[in-house]
Amino acid sequence: MAALINVPAKAKRGDVIEIRTLTSHIMETGFRHTMDGALVPRDIITSFTCRFNGTEIFRADLFPAIAANPYLSFFTVAKESGKFEFEWIGDNGYSSTASASIAVE
């Protein structure tokens, strides 16, 4: 699935940087019914993880009240150059990944 990641390409050592992520997902709550009364089964992202050079630096649990195409932003301190890896996990075996690199000087 399409994802949009905003990580600064370059940063100074010790800088606080903002990371913004947006991914496409319908986030079906599981509380809605169709016109003929059948329950629409829940289909949401349940977990988001960000790893930097293999170490987990941020994790979030997601719930049915979160809107479609979840947008998450968080901050971290730039310590060394490396690669951020993002992973979204959800219902029905959903899994999606993305990555972005940063150069720290």
């Binding site: 399409a2 994802a3 949009l4 905003n6 913004r20 496409s24 809107a67 479609a68 195409n69």
Partner: protein, 259 residues
Amino acid sequence: MISWRAIAVATLLATTPALLAGEIPLDARRSGYSFMGPDTRAMQDDDTSNPGMLFVLDGEALWMKKEGSGDKACADCHGDAKSSMKGVAARYPAFDKALRRPVTLDQRINLCRANHQDAPPLPFESHDILALSAFVAHQSRGAAITAGDDPQLKPFVEQGRHLFMQREGQLNLACTNCHDDNFDKRLAGSPITQGQPTGYPLYRLEWQTLGSLERRLRSCMTGVRAQAYDYGAPELVALELYLMSRAHGMPMETPAVRP
């Protein structure tokens, strides 16, 4: 005695020759963007927080994908969309010579699928048609709207204008009653905009997805408790055409974000 009222009316008529009653003067035309709060504006302005860009990305992949028994992708005929599709969406709905009537960008994509790709049409408001039209319209971001300039479209623009001015539904309201006469006021807490279609297909937070101008028009019609025209109906296309010609010269914003 010369009536002062008659002189006042004559002066008014002399100063506003080309304007019809209720029409918004050119320099007072405002995009829906200017009616939004700062948070929603920021969301639209940043391409990594604008959810509409997810659809543009999907549309780019579809542009390259071979489709139908013709085994051709959009890119096989049109090449790089960055140059070939630049400014195209700003002149849609456009006149189709074979059909002798205007077609929307979505209908044009499906005509291309039928005539050149031998592929089945994509259903209205399906993810793929929205993604493709968002990708194509995104290439016109910043371009001035010129739809309706084609002289062959004149009767259809007129038809659209007529529909815009015509009261309908149980609430007996015309588009013009809100969007020409009462913009900047509020309806149930939400600002009433001028209804300038500069950013379609756009991401509405209420819909939680991208949607076409036709979807927007249909929900307005349901709002005044009128029977909405079907997707692709000639009346909807005419209204769309009139709205685009009414926004003449305004820059395209696709994909816009609206509350």
